[in-house]
Symmetry: C2
Subunit: 227 residues, 2 copies
Amino acid sequence: MSKKDACIADLKTRVLTLALAPGAMLDEVSLSAAYGLSRTPLREVLQRLAGEGFISLEANKGALVSAMDFSAMRQFFQTAPIVYCAISRLAAENATMDQITALKAAQFDFTKSKGTQDAGAMALANHRFHEIIGTMSANSYLIPAVGRLLIDHTRMSQRFYRGVAPQDSARIDQSAHHHDLLIDAISRRSAEEAVEITLDHWALSREDIERYVWPDPLPDDTARQET
Amino acid sequence: MSKKDACIADLKTRVLTLALAPGAMLDEVSLSAAYGLSRTPLREVLQRLAGEGFISLEANKGALVSAMDFSAMRQFFQTAPIVYCAISRLAAENATMDQITALKAAQFDFTKSKGTQDAGAMALANHRFHEIIGTMSANSYLIPAVGRLLIDHTRMSQRFYRGVAPQDSARIDQSAHHHDLLIDAISRRSAEEAVEITLDHWALSREDIERYVWPDPLPDDTARQET
DNA sequence: TGTATTCACTTTGTATACAAAAAGAGAAGC
DNA sequence: GCTTCTCTTTTTGTATACAAAGTGAATACA
């Protein structure tokens, strides 16, 4: 059973860190060989990953890593703030002591990875942090939604963490500070504060993603071509 | 491939109509025999149903129909109106002509089943109607959430449709009227109206469910027992 | 009589072999 | 030279046999 779980965890990691590119095809036989599993359990792994939104299965055509096209990004920016705020509110109302402990541990890992300059580790630690807030909501209807949002959020943030400019370091520190405030708000069961912090946190992250997608333009040489 | 799809569709129907009770265990061998499938593809069916929230799988213990306990109901009433409104808004903005045609067809089926007094058919037709509105939203993050909400919504409504009192008939007619208004609002791309109608529709349905869960009390005989 | 332990049985999980469907290369026809 | 059809090859889907884990009943012991 453990070998299967390891396979699931590793494939998730590879999707989230873009080691497996969006749209990439996954071959059953090579994967089963790589993880030392037979095709039968490997196919069950793929079904489960598909159920969680990491990959999508097409009949008689195999598995491919979930794509991130323009339409998906539009949906993402439209949906994320609503769902994140709802989740934070519910997390503040329903979080258990054990979950708060786990959240603090995840935040510790995040700040630790912040020092290593390892973009993948930072993005994964951040993912784990927000995943725990999702479970805190104790809402089985919203958890699949936030899970899927986090998959794409982490994949997009990857690109930000990776090309880390000097001024970006401060932004990552601010992000970590938001996490601390959020832990505090949830511990005090203050739903209103948790939502406020979540909105700030979202605004920060959205700016980072947008700056990557629409960077400063290159020097404009079009005038010369018009002669 | 078709036999597998039939199996999935039938199991979904049986879950939604409470033919398979919440919490019921599902045996792989008897199911595979019943649907004329081998255990391997049947297990894939179960994985997929689990991914959509119809059942849940526990390691080394098999599959059981998703439970509907008190906690689930609380989450349901908390989450449904937010998600339904968001979905209706997006549906009005994004619906395609083909989808509107499909929605009208589903509404035709619903009104038709209304005459037959078949509670299961009514609930399933209603389910299908709202499922189409979900796909209209074209939002892959919210669709899993609304899917799960509809599973439990349909299962709870089942109980209402089943014990249909004389005055309930008018309520079902009003529900169908809401559907017509919603089709109209979506066709005219009026997101605001779609949300308003959805709120009315939700209020109506919630009352029906609540009246089933907390019915009028039986005649009060406690006074006599106190002597 | 109550409890604990062991053994048989049932059920889930995995591996391998086989069937079917899709993809691609090659040759024939226009 | 281009299209199209067919055959081969690769890849996905299914069935069956086997391994392992869990469950429950019966028996031995306190």
